[in-house]
């Protein structure tokens, strides 16, 4: 157990202690106990920069299930470290924010912080694991803890709905990913990611490749809320705002991004990957930003904005993977997309985190998040306003904030996709920059809506629950830090490039690097009057126009039929699924034993008849049959007549007596076939059972006692005839296929010699095979006890027998 393992597991360990701390230190906000952990972890992970910035990695292994190749291996490389820093850094800020956000008297803080710690530990595990199974374990733990956090206010119906939805969708993806992992294991024979990357050639040429790729992408797309799985994210906004800020903007939704980035070296040599990742990403980008504009809830705007921005990062990763097509760093025309992806990943975490916190402040101080009720808050909350300006302008891609830089690089990346002349990109590739540009216009639009509809315009005090005022200083610290980072990264982007971005790129595109080499990343504000710059100017100009004339064209949103929405599809789908399965179950689980017997016998007939036919098993060999004697014929006739008469008897009494006749005839058969013990027993037992039948007959209820014949049903007749025919056929075949002689010779020889008896039947029963007899009498004892219990221990009348009550 190394220090690194301890670091990853420390949140989970602290989670055990939290309830005790909460219980014994009532007057201290539980969050304070938590706060040091992410901060210390952040500092701890900062140390690794010196290693990773030179392309080095740290790897630690603890054996877990070594026999299956599953070891708890942690690997710190550029990509893992970037995510670990995001998780711990923003984690610390979010914890600090939540201390002021959550009221210790009203909320159950112990559960909240336990869930949050679970999540933090799980997320660290996801990004640092080098073993796919361990990664999957932590992956599901993030889904699980996210489920708990979304449903934190579990008394609200919407929270439960959102939690369930996110659970269903992300677990669906998680399980797909598990399928992908297992397929990858079949291909490579290892669960280690590092080793898998070395074998990427074999993976690409394997017949399972496409299936594996799609399963992995399903996992990544559901987790990162990509189109059309994005629908869970807006509903996850029912979680407390610190959770939304942490999970649903900065960390968990980036797990899918992480997975795509991590698996890029394995899968990205194929056109399928580039097309799927870039295509889905750009579609998500557009759909997210388009949908964000029509939202009226601040958190919903941010949710769709997150969807859109994640799509942007995803499309950049897809486009950047095209660089692998060339395989050398010199031809690194497409690498800029990966740089943009990593850079925007950081930028998005900073500005989206701060914007969520700003939203939380507005909610906290005014009591609403509805932009139709808000307005003119600028004068009341100047600091929050400033923070919102920084965040939204960065999101919209306006200089000098960091969003501007990543957006410029994004345009560059997309323009270069259009120029690709491989993977069939030359046909549809031109769509990428066009969609990207129009999506950016909508991004600009909702960013402006967010800040100006909230903070400027008319102040409507009558619609607000509280009198707005500036937030307490503690709540402002975290967003201020994040906003400062937005500005710092905006003005000095290259502080990141060597230490963070370059090593992360090294992990995404390792095959492009020679030993010890690193990507030379340089981000500059001004690269001359390029196409990208004009595109940005166009975005701002067109966005302003759209914003100005919003009421005129906003009608198109209501034109889109609600039938087409994916939420409706999900809801209806779920409903239909439940309804259909209920109907299917209802259709065959009728509750009538008759029906089930029909199923059982039909299956019996089908299985045996098809075996007889397809295996050609039916044989008839009459060479060693005994001669038929006169008495046998008579007895068979008696038995057949009585058995058939039972079917047509009107009175039940007749049936019982006929059944007795059959039984006594069987006893006669035993006499005829020289089985005196059986004949004796059969006689007595038949007498007893007929007596019991008569007893049951005598106690039939009076109302339904009308005597009638068995009604004829064609199915029943058919099935019973078929069963009879099949059993006869099997008996005949079995008789014709006697392979071995009987073992009865042994008994005949040894009954007296070894067991000291002369009645062979009895000697077999008590001596040779006494074990059977012992349990048969046990069965009899149980039957007696059962009858005794059923009759003596009857429930008193009037007591409810319904199991559901």
């Amino acid at each position: 157990m190394s220090l690194l393992h301890l670091a990853v597991l420390s949140p989970l360990l602290l989670a055990i202690l939290i309830p005790f701390l909460h219980k014994y230190f009532k007057n201290i906000h539980t969050g304070w106990f938590l706060l040091p952990l992410p901060a210390v972890l952040f500092a701890y992970f900062l140390q690794f920069i010196s290693t990773t910035s030179h392309g080095g990695t740290v790897m630690e292994t603890v054996a877990w299930i070594s026999s299956l190749g599953i070891n708890f291996t942690l690997k710190v490389d550029g990509l893992g470290l970037l995510f670990a820093l995001l998780i711990t850094g923003i984690g610390a800020l979010v914890v600090l924010y939540s201390i002021y956000y959550l009221n210790p008297d009203k909320e159950k803080l112990n559960t909240f912080y336990v869930y949050l710690l679970l999540f933090m530990g799980a997320m660290l595990g996801v990004v640092l694991s080098d073993n796919l199974i361990v990664l999957y374990t932590f992956w599901e733990l993030t889904s699980f803890s996210s489920f708990l956090l979304i449903g934190y206010w579990n008394h609200r119906e919407r929270s439960r709905y959102g939690a369930q939805k996110s659970m269903l969708i992300t677990v669906f993806g998680g399980l797909s990913m598990l399928g992908g992992i297992l397929m990858l294991y079949i291909i490579t024979g290892t669960f280690s990611i590092s080793e898998t990357i070395q074998m990427s050639n074999e993976v690409v040429n394997h017949p399972l490749f496409t299936a594996t790729l799609i399963l992995f992408l399903l996992g990544a797309f559901t987790k990162s809320a990509q189109f059309p799985f994005h629908i869970w994210l807006p509903d996850a906004m029912e979680a407390p705002t610190p959770v939304s800020a942490y999970l649903h903007s900065a960390t968990m939704v980036k797990a899918g991004i992480y997975l795509v980035a991590r698996m890029t070296p394995v899968f990205a040599h194929s056109g399928t990957w580039v097309w799927l990742v870039a295509g889905v990403g750009v579609l998500t980008l557009f759909w997210g930003s388009f949908s964000a504009v029509k939202q009226t809830d601040l958190k919903a705007i941010l949710a769709f904005s997150t969807v859109s921005q994640l799509g942007m990062i995803m499309s950049l990763l897809g486009a950047g993977a095209a660089a692998l097509h060339y395989g050398t760093i010199e031809d690194g025309y497409y690498i800029v997309a990966v740089t943009a992806a990593v850079f925007h990943l950081i930028n998005h975490a900073t500005f989206k985190g701060s914007l969520f916190m700003v939203t939380g402040i507005i909610d906290h101080e005014t009591g609403t998040r509805d932009i139709r009720k808000l307005g003119g808050l600028m004068n009341f909350m100047p600091i929050t306003f400033t923070l919102a300006i920084i965040g939204t302008f960065s999101m919209a891609g306006i200089p000098p904030f960091n969003g501007f830089l990543s957006k410029e690089m994004f345009f560059t990346g997309m323009l270069r996709v259009a120029e690709m002349d491989f993977f069939n990109m030359d046909t549809w590739g031109i769509l990428f920059p066009i969609i990207a540009w129009s999506a950016s216009v909508f991004t600009f639009l909702y960013s402006m809506m967010y800040v100006f509809k909230t903070f400027t315009g008319k102040y409507q005090p009558e619609k607000l629950e509280k009198k707005p005022h500036e937030a307490p200083i503690g709540m402002l610290i975290s967003p201020v830090i994040l906003a400062s980072l937005v500005i710092i990264f905006g003005i000095f982007p290259n502080v990141l490039s060597h230490n963070i971005i370059s090593p992360a790129m090294g992990s995404i595109l390792p095959s492009l690097l020679e030993n010890g080499e690193g990507f030379d990343v340089h981000i500059s504000h001004w690269h001359g009057p390029t196409a990208e710059l004009f595109m940005t100017i166009g975005v701002i100009a067109f966005g302003l126009l759209l914003y100005k004339f919003m009421p005129k064209w906003a009608g198109i949103y209501s034109k889109l039929p609600s039938r087409m929405s994916f939420n409706r599809f999900y809801d209806r789908g779920l409903e239909l699924l439940e309804l259909t399965s209920k109907n299917i179950t209802k259709s065959y689980m009728t509750g009538f034993i008759r029906t089930y017997l029909v199923y059982i016998f039909s299956f019996f007939i089908l299985a045996l008849a098809s075996t007889l036919i397809f295996k050609n098993a039916f044989q008839l060999d009459l060479s060693d049959v005994a001669p038929i004697r006169f008495f046998e014929v008579v007895l068979v006739l008696i038995m057949a007549v009585s058995a058939i008469t039972i079917l047509f008897a009107k009175s039940r009494l007749t049936s019982i007596i006929l059944l007795g006749a059959v039984g006594y005839t069987v006893a006669l058969f035993f006499v005829l076939f020289r089985a005196p013990d059986l004949a004796l027993t059969q006689l007595v037992i038949e007498t007893v059972s007929v007596a019991l039948f008569l007893l049951a007959f005598y106690h039939l209820p009076q109302i339904r006692r009308n005597e009638e014949r068995i009604r004829f049903r064609a199915t029943n007749a058919l099935i019973s005839i078929a069963v009879g025919a099949i059993v006869t056929m099997i008996a005949l075949s079995a008789h014709s296929n006697k392979t071995f002689g009987s073992i009865s010779e042994y008994y005949v020889e040894n009954t007296y010699k070894k067991a000291g008896g002369e009645n062979m039947v009895n000697v077999i029963l008590v001596d040779f095979r006494g074990f059977d007899t012992m349990f048969e009498i046990a069965v009899l004892g149980i039957a007696a006890l059962g009858i005794f219990a059923m009759i003596k221990l009857r429930l008193t009348r009037g007591r409810e027998l319904d199991e559901n009550k």
């Binding site: 005196p676 013990d677 004796l680 027993t681 007595v684 037992i685 007893v688 019991l692 007893l695 067991a755 000291g756 008896g757 002369e758 009645n759 039947v761 009895n762 000697v763 029963l765 008590v766 001596d767 006494g770 074990f771 007899t773 012992m774 009498i777 046990a778 009899l780 004892g781 039957a783 007696a784 006890l785 009858i787 005794f788 009759i791 003596k792």
Partner: protein, 140 residues
């Protein structure tokens, strides 16, 4: 209506012993001739059923104050005990032993642990049959 069952009751008093003797014969003859614990037990309970038919349940309970569920338990103990006994002699479960001995009055007699096992069967069958008949008979 109370009928006078004097003939039935008198005949029962005589027949009962015949049936019981027959059942005991069946039981002991089992190892050499048709019969054994099962049919012997059924015959004995048949005799008791005859008693039940001739008299009523209360009277029979007075004549034979037996809890038949306990008879089942004792029978099972006999069967399992015989089987387990073999374990003490370092033999597999349910290994029987037998010998021939000269007893006063009976002469050459075979002694066989299988008889003990059959006694178990005999008792269980009596217990089970009587429990079933008596429970059903007593129920309302």
């Amino acid at each position: 209506m109370k009928t006078n069952d004097i003939i039935l009751q008198t005949v029962t008093k005589f027949t009962l012993f015949v049936i019981i003797l027959f059942s005991i014969h069946l039981f002991f003859a089992g190892h050499y001739y048709p019969g054994g614990g099962f049919i012997g037990g059924l015959m004995t309970s048949g005799a008791i059923v005859l008693l039940l038919l001739a008299f009523d349940i209360k009277t029979v309970k007075m004549i034979l104050p037996v809890d038949y569920l306990k008879v089942v338990a004792v029978g099972l103990l006999f069967a399992i005990g015989t089987g387990a006994g073999a374990l003490f002699f370092d033999k597999p479960f349910l290994t029987h032993a037998y010998t021939y001995a000269y007893l006063p009055l009976l002469g050459k007699t075979s002694l066989h642990t299988a008889v003990l096992f059959d006694t178990g069967v005999f008792l269980v069958v009596i217990g089970v049959t009587m429990t079933i008949i008596q429970t059903i008979g007593e129920s309302e």
